[in-house]
Symmetry: C2
Subunit: 900 residues, 2 copies
């Protein structure tokens, strides 16, 4: 028996099923499934995706059996539809559509109305009694065939398509405006003119033979799989070339055969809210494309979807067809146990189903539908969890702009931290604080931010920067604060002096209102109204189920008691990263910090550090209290010291006055601390190694806070002291000795001990290589994948924006590696670090505290490589919890596949 | 039989030999060897290094057999020396000295004159007839024993040692100045006073029992192996703790027993020149330490070493002893087949040999001795090659200061590029060029250098910078130019405005003379005279032998025909790195370069690039011509574009005038190109990927030059086009396509082809991880270990100076990883890159072009991991050739050890 390349469907049965998506494509498999379910679909057949590959391999030739199988299948279609392909009296018309495993919208070709020619059009007219409709169908077919199959396209982008030109001229000659105003005769003339255009442009005759038309169309669809557009799309979406596309040949049905005909699209539940209503729109006497094109306003299918009572529903207009449609949607949903997006056409009163597929939905709808379906007994909890996309959750956790509001988008930047914010523009952190104190809502606009801007960022509704990427200072801090941020908005020309920015020809001044959409990266003029999300019980339910499934822990990155509380509310099981540097910017602290930096000797530094100690102790006390016994990882001071000194002349003078030293001294210090590449400079444990007194003070503050909390409120703490930027084992042991000594001293002062660990951040490539040695003394590793990505790739996150975007567009990188962890390169370093570390210390606790800890693909990676936990900003904690559950489900799915 | 811990020597025989260095230590093994050779050595015995370890393991206890073995050995010594240990009439005195496998000068303890007490001193007086000498010996012994064995030391660093205080007081009381002015009675009093000090300070009696004295001394020496000083020294020199030290107990002989006695040190050849003369110094009536302390001026042993005819030689003074000494030195040298450094003592006319060991020598001497000894048939070529230290060669290749000249060192910096240079201080590159044009010798002094300074650096005799490390821009460029450079001279406060620098309290102005010792990192005032080295035939000979042995190729890093010629003269077999960016700074080129950078679109850039093409082509033509068929690796443009724009206001204005654009435009461009971490920014292939037209122009220039050279002069070229900073396979394939396309175009224009390769620099950590993928299309890898070290460690080479020095001092890093390749971390990345690369492409050509390519330890590493070649600056080519030969010899040595 020869190989089966053609799968028929129609008449209540089909060769294929929904499971055969890989062979039949998504569309073909679902039509087959519908047919099997007894749902009326126009009969037809699917040529398999396998043929697409064979066709390429045979150098665009077909194996001889294909022709035989197609002819057989066509005979079946003719029987079911009661018409014959090419018959002059009762012609069968067919469509040819692509259909790959996954949807590639608009990437491949379609040809409709195949089978029309000078003879068959007459038969069609006789049968339909609608001459204009028939000539219009013929006209459309010649145009589509000429364009798609014969390739008669405009010569350059500037030119209009030749068929469109002829159409426009015809309307002009007839003195009409709309296509629909052309008469049957006009259209008939156009058919001839179109054929002449093909003859002139391509030197070939339009084929009158329906079989030639069919083969040409099939070839065009298979060919379009290897078209430039489709190849590019596959590259970007990482779809393998050898998947191929199927070709669906299907009898035509028409929703535009008069008022007894119509067409529509519908969802089996409300895709915006998830409510269990049949939600859809339709148009009478129209084709499918009319519903989506927006030329005519579609009408609701039923009362449930009516937005005003004067709208005419399908239910009222065609109650019988609607009843059938209702039965079908219920059957489809309960069959697929999933919300469906369906397309239907009613031809002269008879309902035909054209497509059913997974319905896209908002995050809120996804959550509600998943929970409802469990309650309805349609799906189990695991399936419910797997149906909510972690990345989508962001939508739920931040306020969003009212979708009905009018927006004037003036620029786009990177969607650095999701949310929606409106406020008045200010350019300096000081101004931000001042305005905010007066009750103003403000948006802080900076070329880039630095730790000096923390105060202003904290007061701002949102942050907008001209430079910097997804992990720039502004982005990281904003996400940590759960605050909306657009970074790297390159179109902005910011002028601090005149307190304004220009974008294109527009000038925005201090005090002007702007709105930021941090999820879309859109900067808008004026004050766009927002809606605050309400996290329903369904959300909590899904998260609980996710927690039952996931195996990897989820912690948070939080620097304050407030952030810690937010994260705990979102389900954080501990803190994976407390950055201590942010603690040095408020009020008097910065003075003491600067005093330490300016000190000429260790005694001077120690004096200043003594002033900082109580502040730090209080900070940790507050955090430990909120975390109530959960583990808290605290990173010792990380940034280079120059970040704590003012760089602007004015501020230097002010500092000099405040501290009673000369401006020259401050300038000299700033100068001596200047670094060409601060990212690779004197920071992290390098500071702790050269100034052990800093680490000593921080360690003491941690242990004093823990002891004090236990003594006063009998609350336990589990501090995990983390040494940053370790690249050699010597750095770690040096710092560990300082920390252990401080612990010993504090414990003996209090007379009791606190359970603590000392570990290190793994963020230097070399640390991954020598992880076995580091793990000899380090009790935990936390992968700092931000810096590891920076150093592993050699990309400064502050500067890489210039080329990273282009790299992604060109396909050199699949994603921005600061956003999605680069598993191929950086991920392998991480794996190496874990393996080597655990080769020395089998129970080494391993986590991640880079921004990737809240990114779903990266969470899956962390689960796979055996980390103990991920840590992310508070607002991403639910995302990470869900992603962690997905990782388990995916793994189980793979394991089941292996078992088969 | 119990284990042998004690090895006796003396009387023309010995238990040990020179081969037993690991067991007996260097000193013990060589004394044993001398004794076996019949050379007169004071008899004694060596307690093995093994005992040192046993002693530690037994918690500072000895196994019982040790005592028995020592008593047996002591009995032999007594027999040979004709005196008895502790005997009141004819006492034998002994010394106890440490002696590890490798010399650890000054790190461990020594005790002399053991065996003296109130009784034996009388016997010694009776025998020697020299009362004062005997009491002095006794006094010295009590002092040394009190200090070393009993630990009576000053309480703080500021205090003087108690014995010294007593000695000084005694001299004051006697009204004399020198120790030698004290009488026997004075010294006798001092013995009592010293003993009282011990009693007071340590609460113990000075032991009168000679055996107690001996055991105490042995214990002190073994104990000193685990002293803080010795442990630190071992850490720094990576000497394993379990090597242990041996203890040498040896009969005392005295060179200070009157005018018939003396002592001296000598070399079997001239250690400065290598000349075959017996070279040494002696003092009559003196102890060994007197010869080296410089209190008395030693005299030459013979006419050959006389510097003025009035010096009294040993040959004249003691002809008989000299004759014996001459026989011995000849015997020793021909026995060891190596130049020896010997110590001897003549006690009352009788010559005793105390030590023989490898003689240290200058590079010139090392070369001459090695070649001479081959010619004398003493050693083979391989041994000769192994006897010249590659690192020493630098001395030979650069001019050095006249060692006799007077020097005023005013500051020290990093010895960034060896050599000696004097010149007048200038602070700006322009000034340097101007002054040089007037024939002035100048030293360019900068806070740090940038590519803008190339012109001035080229004209300078030497370069001095206040910032930057061993691989800073200044250092790298200077080494490339073979020019003397001191970098990171932190004590300098440079004031560009007033054209002066301050160092401590001294001010040096523009035009003042200074001298730089690039090998020592010393900055000197004034014009110190230099001597130019003459590379003798011996040098050429050694290099030829090295070439016969080595397996790895040696190429050079050279950017100009001149540098290429220098390198070829030094033996370079090709170019491993031609940096093309330096080519864009001269004359009109920089204008065209800047025009390109300022261009707003691709057409503008292409216009400017068209102007640069002929310059580039000529550069490559010149280099290809010099290299005459040898392979030439050319790296495409690497630095960020802002390096080509002026950053100072004045220069920006000048550029604006020259180019006819507004200053604002230039400032805006400089601003938009500004990067926070330029090291990790828009550079390398990231430039080529976003501006392919730059790569295209460079590739075209390379291929046109090669074709032109073949056409005009029939000289072949083998260009290897190198894409810098590749981190993903996509970047490489993108650039390779551009290069291959340019090659095709040029070849079709010329009608013939040139053999070329396209490969990549591996300098991004991620590139090592994905090397297998990169090697699918890359034909060669060249490891850029400078950047790989920067990114692998996360150290900016321009900024790391602040902590790197401290890291090395603290032992966190064994060496500056920019100087010696970090094999543990970065080296493993390199190995991974090679293995993965060759897993895809077995014949992948692999080299190194970082600064490490000329550093001996790193060259050995490159050989070991299977690289095809190393590449280094022209002046380091001989160093690399020799180091490569050493790597083979070392490997063969290890293989032989395995075979045994």
């Amino acid at each position: 028996m020869s190989r089966k390349y053609v799968y028929a469907f129609g008449g209540g049965k089909a060769d294929g099923t929904a499971e055969m998506r890989n062979l039949l494509g998504g569309k073909g498999a679902n039509i087959a499934e519908m047919s099997n379910l007894g749902i009326p679909v126009p009969a037809g057949f699917t040529i398999t995706t396998e043929m697409c590959t064979v066709y390429s391999k045979l150098n665009r030739q077909y194996p001889p059996e294909l022709d035989i199988q197609i002819r057989e299948a066509m005979a079946d279609v003719e029987k079911i539809m009661g018409a014959r392909f090419g018959d002059q009296e009762n012609p069968l018309l067919v469509s040819v559509r692509s259909g790959a495993r996954v949807s590639m919208p608009g990437m491949m070709d379609t040809v409709l109305n195949i089978g029309l020619n000078e003879q068959t059009v007459k038969g069609l007219i006789a049968n339909s009694g609608n001459e204009r409709f028939c000539w219009d169908s013929y006209r459309r077919f010649v145009q589509m065939y000429g364009d798609v199959v014969l390739g008669l396209k405009p010569e350059s982008k500037e030119e209009e398509a030749p068929f469109e030109v002829a159409l426009t001229e015809k309307k002009k000659a007839r003195g009409v405006e709309l296509d629909s105003d052309l008469t049957a005769d006009d259209l008939k003339e156009l058919v001839d003119e179109f054929k002449a255009l093909i003859r002139q442009g391509k030197g070939v005759e339009f084929p009158e033979d329906p079989w030639k038309q069919l083969w040409g169309s099939i070839e065009a669809v298979f060919g379009s799989w290897n078209g430039a557009r489709a190849i590019k799309y596959r590259q970007l979406n990482r779809i393998p070339d050898d998947w191929g596309t199927a070709v669906n040949v299907q009898a035509m049905v028409y929703g535009n055969m008069g008022e007894g005909s119509g067409t529509g699209v519908a969802f089996t539940r409300d895709p915006a809210t998830g409510q269990k209503i049949f939600y859809g729109e339709y148009l009478l006497n129209a084709q499918g494309e009319d519903v989506v094109s927006g030329i005519r306003t579609p009408q609701p299918v039923n009362k449930d979807t009516q937005s005003s009572p004067d709208q005419e529903t399908l239910e009222e207009k065609m109650p019988e067809a609607y009843k059938i449609l209702e039965d079908i949607y219920l059957k489809l949903e309960s069959h697929y146990r999933e919300m469906q997006d369906i397309e239907f056409t009613i031809q002269q009163g008879k309902l035909w189903m054209l497509q059913t597929r997974l319905g896209k939905r908002t995050a809120a709808a996804a959550v509600k539908i998943a929970v409802d379906m469990v309650n309805e007994g349609l799906i189990d909890k695991k399936t419910a969890v797997s149906r909510v996309e972690p990345a989508q959750l962001d939508q739920l956790l931040h306020p969003t702009f009212d979708p009905k509001a009018e927006k004037t988008v003036i620029a786009k930047g990177l969607p650095a931290s999701p949310g929606a914010a409106s406020g008045r523009v200010v350019f300096h952190s000081d101004d931000a604080e001042e305005w905010a104190a007066k009750g103003e809502k403000i948006i802080l606009v900076r070329i880039e931010t630095s730790p000096e801007d923390i105060g202003g960022m904290n007061e701002a509704q949102g942050i907008l920067t001209a430079f910097g990427g997804m992990t720039s200072h502004a982005a990281v801090v904003a996400r940590g604060m759960g605050k909306c941020c657009i970074a790297g908005c390159g179109a902005l020309e910011i002028n601090y002096k005149d307190k304004l920015f220009k974008v294109n020809n527009l000038t925005v001044k201090e005090g002007d209102w702007v709105s930021l959409d941090g999820s879309a990266g859109e900067l808008m003029l004026g004050q766009v109204p927002t809606v605050v999300p309400d996290l329903s019980g369904d959300f909590t339910q899904i998260m609980e189920w996710a927690d039952e499934i996931r195996k990897i822990g989820v912690r948070t990155n939080a620097d304050t008691p407030h952030d810690s509380q937010v994260a705990v509310n979102f389900g954080a099981e501990g803190i994976g990263l407390t950055r201590t540097e942010h603690m040095f910017f408020e009020g008097d602290r910065i003075k003491a910090m600067r005093e330490m930096i300016l000190a000429d000797d260790i005694e001077g530094r120690k004096r200043a550090l003594t002033k900082l100690l109580p502040y730090q102790r209080d900070d940790f006390y507050g955090i430990f209290k909120v975390m109530d016994g959960r583990p808290v990882t605290i990173r010792l001071l990380d940034p280079p010291l120059h970040e704590f000194l003012p760089h602007e002349e004015k501020n230097q003078a002010e500092m000099a006055r405040e501290m009673g030293v000369s401006v020259e001294k401050i300038k000299a210090k700033v100068g001596s601390l200047h670094e060409l590449n601060p990212m690779l400079g004197h920071r992290g444990c390098r500071l702790g190694t050269t100034y052990p007194e800093i680490s000593e003070m921080q360690a003491r503050a941690i242990f004093e806070a823990a002891c004090e909390l236990k003594k006063k409120e009998n609350i336990e703490s589990h501090p995990e002291v983390m040494v940053p930027l370790v690249g050699t084992v010597g750095e770690f042991t040096d710092q560990k000795a300082v920390i252990d000594k401080a612990a010993e001293a504090v414990f003996s002062e209090y007379g009791f001990k606190i359970d603590y660990m000392v570990g290190t951040m793994i963020e230097i490539p070399r640390a991954c290589i020598v992880a076995d040695k580091i793990a000899e003394t380090a009790e935990f590793f936390s992968f700092g994948t931000n810096d590891l990505t920076q150093m592993g790739f050699g990309y400064s996150r502050d500067d890489a924006g210039k080329f990273l975007h282009e790299y992604v567009v060109k396909g050199i990188l699949p994603e921005d590696p600061f956003h999605v962890l680069d598993q191929e390169g950086i991920g392998e370093l991480v794996q190496m670090g874990i393996q080597r570390g655990r080769s020395t210390r089998a129970d080494l606790k391993v986590g991640i505290c880079g921004e990737h800890g809240g990114e779903p693909q990266s969470v899956e990676f962390c689960h796979r490589v055996g980390m103990n936990y991920v840590s992310c900003s508070p607002y991403r904690v639910p995302v990470a919890r869900l992603a962690a559950a997905h990782a388990v489900i995916k793994e189980q799915g793979k394991a089941e596949l292996k078992d088969v």
